[in-house]
Amino acid sequence: DKANDTLNVAFTKELESVDSYFNSAREGVIFQRSVWDGLLYLNQETGEYEGNLATSWQWVDDTTLELKLREGVKFHNGEEFDADDVVYTVNFVAKPENGVVVQRNVNWMKEAVKVDKYTVRIITNGPFPAAFEYLAGPVSIYPNEYYAEAGPAGMALKPVGTGPYQVESVEPGKHFVLKRYEGYHDSPKGAASIGTVDIRTIPDVNTQLAELFSGGLDFIWGVPADQAEKIAAMGRFTVANESTMRIGYLELDAAGRSGDHPITKAKVRQAIAHAIDRQAIVDSLLKGKSKVVHSACFPTQFGCEQDVTTYDYDPEKAKALLAEAGYPDGFSVDFYAYRDRPYAEAMLSYLAKVGIQANLKYLQYSALRDMRFKGETSMSFQTWGSYSVNDASAITSQFFKHGAEDFARDDEVLAWLNAADTSVDPAVRKENYSEALKKIADQAYWVPLFSYNSNYVFTQDAEFTPTPDEVVRFFQVSWKQ
């Protein structure tokens, strides 16, 4: 609402806690980027890291990173920012018993050591090349005095950071009001332009749209493609589309964790890959900037080898492969999914055409994850957003290192990934990721499907350019002059 200098936006999900270490939702990331700052900043246009709360940084050795901090920065509550804040925050979140929800965001750090008032060292648990990615992303710096006193619970009710917006009010899960932080430091993020951001949780997309049409909301995102198309045609709102780092894939139980079934056969998996017309799904369902992907990672990610075996849509070949594998009449299998039911349904129909009778089991995310952890699913439709970390370690290594969610259990792949993950030499890393991804594609451990996109719909009064990391930076939204 331009008149009140208030941007009314909607979250789809109830945010469990606005303390960025204690939620794992996309909404939490969005909130975090506005209220807190990291030590570094990733410039979305150049792809370069810039200093945010730190002004310079360098590896002292493989596991020690030394950073110089910006001076004169103040937290929203007036507390001064210095090395103590960094040390306190890092030491707090790095301790597993403090229960940070997304451990992988922080468990690479061992501790932080104060060198002087404006210099700190972060010690990692072994070589960790992706460190900057995290320091520019999920690791936000909290005020030590306030956090020590209030703790996560207090922070969740009255968050305090150094970010471009300060929090005016929090009704847990329901309603948050952000106000421009007038004392924002000279950050590469840039100061906020709009005075107030009013965030309400509205779970239903239709209600969000209804609010948008009736003027109750100014800005929503994650609008499904069909609706976005229609809204664009209405001409009353700006619709922006940007790809995201999330890809969809079929996770196939090659290792036979869920028992002996056809999918353990490579030919069957390849048949599945040939059976699905991914391009048609992208064209008619996902639309926008979505692309078919062939490798088990997001194409822009570091190490994401693109030169892998591809499986084009070829039902005849799929049938032939099935016959070769000994299933000329196809077979029946449970097909698990937790989101995007229409995509799953479309795949179901393609599978049916080659004789694979897939029974859709649509579960809650946590329930499905339970089953996967126990190795009970032979085929499931999964998606992964890599936390917007632009590095193959955030996806390939997540799923192919014999963890609970690894249904390939390929020792060769494990070895390559270990080598890639622990080296600081980009060339070595690239080489090893490439090997791993090629094998994954050859064996069709996964059937990578497509990348996602996101639609941002906002009033024509507002100006905003979305970024591929799917993070809405409120401070980059402005009113049109």
């Binding site: 997309v205 048609a280 008619s284 479309a346 859709l360 649509y362």
Partner: protein, 312 residues
């Protein structure tokens, strides 16, 4: 010797009584009276007619459309129905978000809704009737226990519990039907309990006891036929209830699994586009509304028609 009474000319008067009886016996049997009342009740006639049509549609769905409800065509998504511009004459009611023929899904969907309603009502009917009849007939401790269970059941928020269970077990036709069946027995139990209690104290039941009838015989042949109408009424209403609940569960994403063409699911799928293509929810919504309406009218009508005060 009974004959002697007759022979004694005991009743010339009796003979005349017999004549008047002959007169009166022409008053119709209960069945015939019921039939007559049924056709005098417009709501009931409407309910029966619509329900019959829907059942026929469900049975003969394959004959009524040449389309398969599962065949998708991603190139022909959300084609509008025949009354709107740009429709495809091949798809009378248009196509859904995956390009499946909406008419075919609607027709086949009738099967699902009816099956859910009927089977859920059957399961809950069996449970509730058994409990209600036992409580009503035996009273005392049995009644206390059943009343307690009914209270427990009523105190449990149905939608919540159904959601929880379906969320745990994963939605599928069978799960939804069984969950609804296990949750909706309360009204059967309540109604059966009170109607059996009413009938239990009637003198013909006492007469049957005095004759030496066994308990199962009394319950099955003396009591049940007289509370059957209430049972049928509750069954129809619960059937409607189950159908609506399934639709609500589907709306919340925890109902029958796709690609099963359930009407509730169709609304849930069409809901995404309801602001732009309202017919997507209007068509299954209206179908659902008409089905539930018909079943309710049938139930209401049966209640009116078989209500004790209407009995001859």
């Amino acid at each position: 010797m009974p004959g002697s009474i007759r022979a004694s000319g005991w009743g010339e008067a009796m003979a005349r009584t017999i004549e008047t009886v002959a007169e009166e016996i022409r008053s119709p049997s209960p069945g015939a009276m019921l039939r007559r009342r049924i056709f005098g009740h417009y709501g009931l006639v409407f309910g029966i007619a619509v329900l019959t049509i829907i059942v026929l549609i469900a049975l003969f769905a394959p004959l009524l459309t040449s389309h398969d409800p599962y065949t998708q065509d991603l190139m022909a998504r959300m084609k509008p129905p025949f009354w709107m511009a740009g429709h495809d004459p091949d798809h009378l009611l248009g196509t859904d978000h995956l390009g499946r023929d909406y008419l075919a899904r609607l027709l086949y969907g009738a099967r699902i809704s009816l099956a859910i309603g009927a089977v859920a009502a059957l399961i809950s009917g069996l449970i509730g009737t058994a409990m209600g009849v036992a409580a009503g007939y035996f009273g005392g401790k049995v009644d206390l226990v059943v009343t307690f269970l009914i209270n427990v059941r009523l105190a449990m928020p149905v939608v919540l519990v159904a959601l929880a269970v379906v969320a745990i077990l994963g939605g599928s036709l069978e799960v939804v039907i069984v969950v609804l069946g296990l949750l909706l027995w309360d009204r059967f139990a309540v109604v059966m309990r009170s109607s059996v209690m009413q009938v239990r104290d009637l003198e013909y039941v006492n007469a049957a006891k005095a004759i030496g009838c066994s308990v199962p015989r009394i319950v099955l042949s003396e009591i049940m036929p007289n509370v059957l109408n209430n049972l049928i009424v509750v069954a129809t209403l619960e059937m409607a209830h189950a159908i609506l609940l399934e639709a609500a569960l589907s709306f919340l994403g925890l109902g029958v699994q796709p690609p099963t063409p359930s009407w509730g699911l169709m609304i849930s799928e069409g809901k995404q586009m309801m602001l732009f293509e309202p017919w997507l929810i209007a068509i299954p919504g209206v179908a659902l509304f008409i089905l539930v309406l018909a079943i309710n009218l049938l139930g209401d009508g049966l209640r009116d028609v078989t209500a004790p005060e209407n009995r001859g």
